[in-house]
Amino acid sequence: MSPDNYVYLAAILFTIGTVGVMTRRNALVAFMSVELMLNAANLVMVAFALARGNLDGQIATFFVMVVAAAEVVVGLSIIITIYRTRRSTSVDAASLLKL
């Protein structure tokens, strides 16, 4: 099966993730949307690894997963730190840098 369909599916998922980041107010949901975008990119890499007969795509996906795990750990602790001081996870609440 050609990777085209996988590319289109990943494009849809990536777009949904992007719109999620742009519209959702809850920092956690926005963060999950970022994860969705990472997963969409992973899907393309795995699909092309199969189509081109090359395992490098799968390796790249593996490294993306590792980086995502590290990113989630730090991101969630930042969200908790903000929640502790502001009592809110809304991305609009943290506006101290706004002029």
Partner: protein
Amino acid sequence: MIPLVTGAEVTFWIVAPLMVLGALGLLFFRKAVYAALSMAFVMVNLAVLYASLNAMFLTFVQIIVYTGAIMMLFLFVLMLVGVDTPDSIVETLRGQRWSAGLAGLGLLGLIVFGIGGALAGGPQVGLDDANAVHGGNVESLAALIFGRYVFIFELTSALLITAAVGAMVLGQHARVRPKPTQREMARQRMVDYAASGLHPGTLPNSGVIARHNSIATPALLPDGTISEASVSPALTSRGVILDSPALSRATAEAFAAIEGVKAEEDEE
């Protein structure tokens, strides 16, 4: 020519709509927990797609790392920050939702027609040869990770340690002022008593009324009003405290009725 329907295609057409539905749940569920669960659903489906794409190692890494660790971490944090806070639907920027949707459509078009169009076609090789070199998918991946990509692999370990230390630093909160000792707290209570007449002793019990003695029952003062200090402020703000005067009035009425009957019997 007979149209060849492979297992991968069947899997794709079953799993892909489910994935899109789950991803849309991330956009449209008001509650963050539902969004997290639909995200976990998307990730499990993605693992199924990996399996159909000859990536058995990634299938299990996806389930263990993403669905097992990352999404559960999200759920833990949701539990910490409170699951009951729905997303506010007030738009702080006017028309943001529509423009975000338009931008999303534009991005979709860009990816599908730009990148997708450029990548369409090309050779279909399959992974059988690449996997056969070292005897299997996991073995071939291991040969790559510990061969060509070993330096990147070592770097990721540094990254993970940095992330763990960073999370620890962010997670602990430094004390702004030293923790008061018992002696200091006792002195502070006496200072408060001298300054504002605040009672220095323990707070009053919750009320014990004939049929109610829960902590949500306020105690009654001698003049029949309730004592605010006898119930937790959390219960008061939640609005679950009972109406003690009414409860004690019911008891008083029951007693009065009994006394009335007794009085009538005595008269007879």
